[in-house]
Amino acid sequence: MKKHPFHLVDPSPWPLFTGFSTFVLTVGAAMYMHGYQGGGIVLSLGLLMVIYSLFVWWRDVVREATFEGHHTTPVQLGLRYGMILFILTEILLFAAFFWAFFHSSLAPTVEIGAVWPPKGIEVLNPWEIPFLNTVLLLSSGASVTWAHHAILAGNRQQALNGLILTIVLAVIFTGFQAYEYIEAPFTISDGIYGSTFYMATGLHGFHVIMGTLFLSVCLYRLYNYHFTKQHHFGFEAAAWYWHMVDVVWLFLFVCVYYWGG
């Protein structure tokens, strides 16, 4: 009989396999970027291996939690701490690229005309697609909160509706960003403006895609009755992550699109 509430995980191959996969990914990326033969293949293989690792590892977490009942209250508390700390690291990651943006834009050098935006850069109108994207993400933040309240109330249909709406809004946002990226008059290679703009918004877009995938997994689990009114931490973690993504966009809109334009 178990005398403690903690989850001592059964031996698993996934941590080692994930480490190996990220190694293949890194070597492949280096090979590809330096023009080595077979670089693309190794990179693609590494990418597939990492995606597979994430899938099998998290699938096991769902099995241990939902189907084996290992996630007692203290275990959940640990997961909450973990997710909050992870989100903190993501915020610090974005802080680095915001720092780079402000470093170059607050004191623009003579080489770019001592102005920001630099001479010759045709910036995007913040009140066109970027503002629409802001509204989309803010709305998705509201819809995910709606879904959460529905789960708390035990209202399955509304929870599904709220979560589906959130994912739809997220996909539309990504679509508009992709359109902007294709149609923008400047590229990542267009000086310091291009570098800071695409690094910050690109990293954000990557996080939007990850957040959308996380929410989609939650939709699958919600549909298949994994969550209960009291216990649905996977959903809460996804919602926290999504709110972080939303807040980062607000900073991007204000600093990069509006002030930087």
Partner: protein, 163 residues
Amino acid sequence: MWRGTAAARLLLRACASSPVLQQHTQQLLPPLQSACRPAILLPVTRWIQTKAALRSHGGGQLDEFGIATGAEREELEAKREGKKRFDLDPPRGPFGTHDAPAIVESHYDVRIVGCSGGVGEDEHDVTWFHLEKGKPYECPVCSQVFQLKVTGVGGQPGHDEHH
């Protein structure tokens, strides 16, 4: 949702009507409950059956804890009765004396115990010691007396069957 099971039925019916798959099925599969189920679809139909089972389970036979199981369910059931399945809080009680020692429950015959004294001014830094069965122990700082009460299997703490 009806969509899931309808799709499964359509899939099976489609495969049953396919001559290639039927031939293949007859060659490979020994008698199955459903003769029109090709081997390759087995993982898919198993998954759909599991989903159906989960859905029907959600249809009305669940108690207030839903699909909770294992340690989580034990925790919830104990909470419903007002008890704690896993108690992580340090034990509290009246100051232990020789006549009425502070009782510390233990699964084994010996347990590590820490005494922090009485309340307010009588509190001191935690003093740790082994408390053994049948040997009441007096705290060297505040003289509080402790006694072990074995509520579990007893014996020496060692390697468990499960952790």
